[in-house]
Each structure stands twice: as structure tokens, then as C-alpha cells.
């Protein structure tokens, strides 16, 4: 077998970035919001790896904190979207019928709209905040997962192993969740990588616009909107934030590409 560079590089990069983000959940070298007049616009140094921003806050700590916030939100969004999408898509795909037709039409309609646009509408109604954002994006991510899973269930439900399970009198729900579900794993895994990236992208964009998280828990996107104001004085602030976001998305994107070429799943 040809060496799967996508999988290797993507896996390594994803792991690295996930660890980086996860570290921010528990530990930062400095208090990310501690202001220090003496350190304003400090250049990168051993004391402040990435330097300091206009208020003298340690940028490395802020990047860690922002990355952690972004990761948490993306994972939560993914969890809502994937779990609900799995249940809805699985049931629709296996049982079919009128309910399936209606639900899928609805999913198609929602998926036709750019998710940032819909999320903006929802956030306009609910107001900003981390949990509102997770809710809005999570719900909006359900259709794409539901469609993905449904397609896979539709394909699998007529395969021999499902037929024999049915003949043996296994209950339909058990077939759906115990027999078929594990076999949709490759497709789901590929879908999760795409979903994760979309979640990071949507969260970052929304927070950048000031309609996502609140200033009390800043994420990468929110900090970027802050950093943009100091692009001339501390370009590295925006630079490190951008780099973190891009590497996270790139790593997971490559990982997904690798999974697809390994399992033969189409995007």
C-alpha cells in the first residue's frame, strides 16, 4: 500500500494542535487577562513567548486561552450536530417513508444556506454568548450529518447482513444502532472532520463579527477582531492567532483527506 501522507501529516498536525488547544483549558503561563503597563507591545522573549498586546497581556497565554475556547465550542457543536444527526439520519434512512421525505426536504433546505448566515439570524434572536452560539451552530449542523448518515443507512439497509439480522428477528432499533451504526464509521469519521472544520470556521467568523462569544470568554475569532486593531504595532498577535486557527483547520482537513483515501469514502 502506498504511504498515506495525508493521514500521517494530518494525524500528527491534528494531534499537535488538539494538545495545544487542550493545554489552554488547564494551564497558561500567565493570566491571559492580566494587564501590565510595563509590558505593552513587548516583543517575543523568553518571558513572553509570543510577546504582549496593547494592554500588556501575554499573547501566548491569550492564544492558548482562545484556542481552548474555540476547541470547546467546536467540539460541543460537533457533539450536538453529530448525535442528533445520527439519530435522525439513521432512523430516516432505515425506515424511510413520508416522515423521511419531509425531514430530508427540510434538511436540504437548511443545508442550502451558508451556516454562518443562518447562525447570524439565530444569534440575532438569542443574543451573543458562548452557549447561545453552541446551540445555534449545533442545531444548524444537524442537517448535514443527518443527510450523510441517512445516505449511508439507505445503502446499508439492503445488504445481506442486515437482511439476515432482520430474518433472525432482531428489533429494528437494535439493527439501526447496534448492527448498522458501526459500519457507517468510516463515513461518519470523514464527516466529523469536515464538521469540525466547519464548526471552527463558523465559530471564528461569528466571534470575529462580535456576534459569537462575549468578551468574558474570548475565542480565537474574537481575539482576532481585537488584534486587527493593532495590526501595525503588534502584527504578531494577529499572526499567532491566525496561524493557530489555520493549522488547526489544516491538520484536521488533511486528516479527513487521509481517512477518505484510506477507506475509499467520498467526501
Amino acid at each position: 500500500m502506498r504511504k498515506n501522507w495525508y493521514l500521517r501529516i494530518g494525524g500528527a498536525l491534528s494531534l499537535l494542535m488538539l494538545i495545544f488547544c487542550a493545554v489552554g483549558l488547564f494551564w497558561t503561563p500567565h493570566d491571559p487577562s492580566a494587564i501590565s503597563a510595563a509590558d505593552r507591545y513587548a516583543l517575543p522573549s523568553p518571558a513572553h513567548l509570543f510577546g504582549c498586546d496593547a494592554l500588556g497581556r501575554d499573547i501566548f497565554s491569550r492564544v492558548l486561552q482562545g484556542a481552548a475556547a474555540t476547541l470547546t465550542i467546536a467540539l460541543a457543536v460537533l457533539a450536538i450536530g453529530a448525535v442528533c444527526g445520527l439519530v435522525i439520519g439513521g432512523l430516516c434512512g432505515y425506515f424511510g417513508g413520508a416522515a423521511d421525505a419531509i425531514v430530508m426536504r427540510l434538511c436540504d433546505a437548511i443545508a442550502a444556506f451558508p451556516s454562518v448566515l443562518l447562525a447570524l439570524v439565530v444569534m440575532a434572536l438569542t443574543g451573543a454568548g458562548r452557549y447561545h452560539l453552541i446551540f445555534a451552530l449545533g442545531v444548524l449542523f444537524i442537517p448535514s450529518f443527518a443527510r450523510l448518515v441517512r445516505g449511508e443507512f439507505l445503502r446499508q439497509r439492503d445488504l445481506d447482513y442486515v437482511k439476515s439480522a432482520r430474518l433472525m428477528g432482531v428489533s429494528p432499533l437494535r439493527i439501526v444502532f447496534v448492527h448498522i451504526l458501526p459500519n457507517t464509521f468510516p463515513v461518519l469519521l470523514s464527516g466529523l472532520t469536515i464538521g469540525f472544520n466547519n464548526a471552527v470556521l463558523a465559530e471564528a467568523s461569528m466571534s470575529f463579527l462580535g456576534i459569537g462569544v462575549t468578551p468574558q470568554d474570548p475565542s480565537l475569532g474574537y481575539m482576532l477582531s481585537e488584534a486587527q486593531g493593532y495590526l501595525l504595532k503588534t502584527p504578531w498577535y494577529a499572526g499567532f492567532l491566525a496561524l493557530t486557527t489555520i493549522l488547526l483547520i489544516l491538520g484536521v482537513g488533511l486528516l479527513g483527506e487521509g481517512i477518505r483515501s484510506e477507506t475509499g469514502v467520498e467526501a
Partner: protein, 313 residues
């Protein structure tokens, strides 16, 4: 064919009706009474009742929807309480900016992605192809607003090629378009990367098909096979993608407008969400929704025109 077209258009209208209904409904459930916003909290009952009647708030919901839709179709998009002017007047100058940004971005995507996709497929596996693959993979991973900040930093702050303040068309069309080129770049690059990959894949997929072998057997050179046979087939998914992309471009414009402080629909949307000026938000949402539905309709129609195998159904 004609019958099928009528059916498609009917479906389009039904979808538009549904979308406007949803947009209307979403903004009708907002807690809080606009009368309080207008009159303040110490208004008398009579004042409130009079205003409710004036605004048509005493009517049943469906009737309010019909009235709202009728007004909307006549160009009356409601009234902004925060800006104290008709929404239509507020949005008209901003539509132009967003439209220009979208158009320039779309043109860039087409100009960038089609040649690169063809070149990558033509020299599959070679150095150029690999370079394009790596480049597109990275570019795809860059969110539009980060691309915007990058473009701003590089071209405005380091190279000083353009001034990072909005240049309106009044200052001259050339100057306006020159300024718009940079935000459009930020919108277009990530999408172009996706289009390049799609086109490359589509061409390579077509090259494996039997009719390509037939084309070669007639004495066609590789270039002629691509031009005369493969490209038309490979473009079918790409054109569909490009038509649907317009919706994504509009969404990306909202974010990029913020980066470059372009007074467009997106910036207005964000401002009004912040100010809770729902009449404006609702109008913009309806406009954008119509654009999205229209793009999907366009994509579908183009697909049918380009692929003779699809009969009008």
C-alpha cells in the same frame, strides 16, 4: 420541456414564499413590543393602542404577514426605529457595495480556478500539479476573515499598494474597483482553492471514461481531447458549484466587509443585530435568503442546460 420549466418556476415561487414566511415568523416571535421601543416605557395605554393600530399590530398574524409581504414587494421594507428612516432608503446604497464585492469575487474565482484546475489535471502528478495541490489544501484552510486580515496587512500596511479605507464609487469607478479587488481576493481565494480541486477531480474522472478513448482513436491530440470533449463534461459539476457558491460568497462578504470596513449589507446586518434593530435585520435576511434560493435555482437550471441527459422532469 416548457411544462417542466413552468413547474420549476412554480416550485421556486413556493420556496420563496416559504422562506419569506419563515423569516417573518422568526422575527415575530421576538419577545418585547416595538411600541415600547418607540414610545418608551411610560407611554399611556391609549398611545400604545393607537400606535399598535397604526402599525397594524392588532391584526391576526397571517394578515400581518400578507400586509408585510405586499409592502415588501412594493419596495416598502419597513422602517428602522434606530436610524429613523425607511429600511429601503437605508439599504439602497449598501446593496451596491455588497453587489460589487460579490461580483468581483465571483469573477476572481472563475479567473483563478478554471485555468489552475485544467493545468493541474493536464500535468497530473507532475511538479505543477503537486504545487497546486499543496497550495489549494492550505488556502482552503484559511477562513475568509483571516485571509482578509492577511491581505490587508500585506498589501496595505507592508507594501502600501492600497489604502485600507473604503473608496466609494463617487471617487471614480476605477479607484472603487481597485479598492474592492483586495477584499474580493480575501473572499475568492479559499473558494477558488475548492473550485480548483473540484475541476481537477472532474477532469481526471472524465479522462478515465470510454469516450475519451474514442476521441483519441480519431486522431485528436491531448489538448483537443480536453478542449473538445472533456471540458464540457467536467464543467457540469463545476458550473453547478460556482452557481451555488454565490450564496457562500455573500456570506463570506459579510465577514470580509467587517475586516475592510466596507459599508455594505453585511456591515449593516452586524450593526443592526448589535442595536437590535430587527426591521433592518429582517429585511436583510429576506434579501439574502432570496439570493440563496435564487442561486440554487440558477445552479439547477444551468445543470439542466449543460447536461443533455437530464430531461425536463
Amino acid at each position: 420541456m416548457a411544462k417542466a420549466a413552468v413547474k420549476r418556476v412554480a416550485l421556486l415561487l413556493a420556496t420563496l414564499l416559504l422562506v419569506t414566511l419563515l423569516a417573518y415568523a422568526a422575527f415575530s416571535v421576538i419577545p418585547g413590543d416595538p411600541t415600547h421601543t418607540i414610545l418608551g416605557l411610560d407611554a399611556t395605554e391609549e398611545q400604545i393602542a393607537a400606535l399598535r393600530k397604526e402599525l397594524g399590530l392588532d391584526l391576526p398574524v397571517w394578515q400581518r404577514y400578507v400586509n408585510w409581504l405586499t409592502d415588501f414587494l412594493h419596495g416598502d421594507l419597513g422602517k428602522s426605529y434606530k436610524f429613523n428612516m425607511p429600511v429601503a432608503d437605508l439599504l439602497a446604497p449598501r446593496v451596491q457595495a455588497t453587489l460589487t464585492l460579490t461580483a468581483v469575487s465571483f469573477a476572481l474565482i472563475v479567473v483563478i480556478s478554471i485555468p489552475l484546475g485544467i493545468v493541474a489535471a493536464r500535468f497530473r502528478g507532475g511538479f505543477v500539479d503537486r504545487a497546486i495541490t499543496v497550495l489549494t489544501q492550505v488556502t482552503m484552510s484559511i477562513p475568509n476573515f483571516i485571509m482578509g486580515i492577511g491581505v490587508m496587512f500585506l498589501f496595505a500596511l507592508v507594501l502600501h499598494i492600497f489604502q485600507p479605507t473604503y473608496v466609494s464609487p463617487e471617487a471614480g469607478l476605477a479607484a472603487h474597483l481597485w479598492f474592492m479587488f483586495f477584499p474580493a481576493l480575501a473572499v475568492a481565494l479559499p473558494k477558488s482553492a475548492m473550485a480548483v480541486r473540484l475541476l481537477r477531480g472532474a477532469i481526471l474522472g472524465e479522462l478515465d471514461k470510454d469516450y475519451v478513448r474514442t476521441a483519441y482513436s480519431k486522431g485528436n491530440a491531448t489538448g483537443a481531447v480536453l478542449r473538445r470533449h472533456v471540458l464540457r463534461n467536467a464543467m457540469i459539476p463545476v458550473v453547478t458549484f460556482l452557481a451555488m457558491t454565490i450564496a457562500d460568497i455573500v456570506a463570506a462578504s459579510i465577514v470580509v466587509e467587517q475586516v475592510f470596513t466596507i459599508p455594505g449589507l453585511g456591515q449593516m446586518l452586524i450593526t443592526c443585530i448589535g442595536k437590535r434593530d430587527y426591521a433592518v435585520v429582517q429585511a436583510i435576511v429576506v434579501i439574502l435568503a432570496v439570493v440563496v434560493v435564487g442561486c440554487n435555482f440558477l445552479a439547477d437550471a444551468l445543470y439542466r442546460v449543460m447536461d443533455p441527459r437530464i430531461d425536463g422532469r
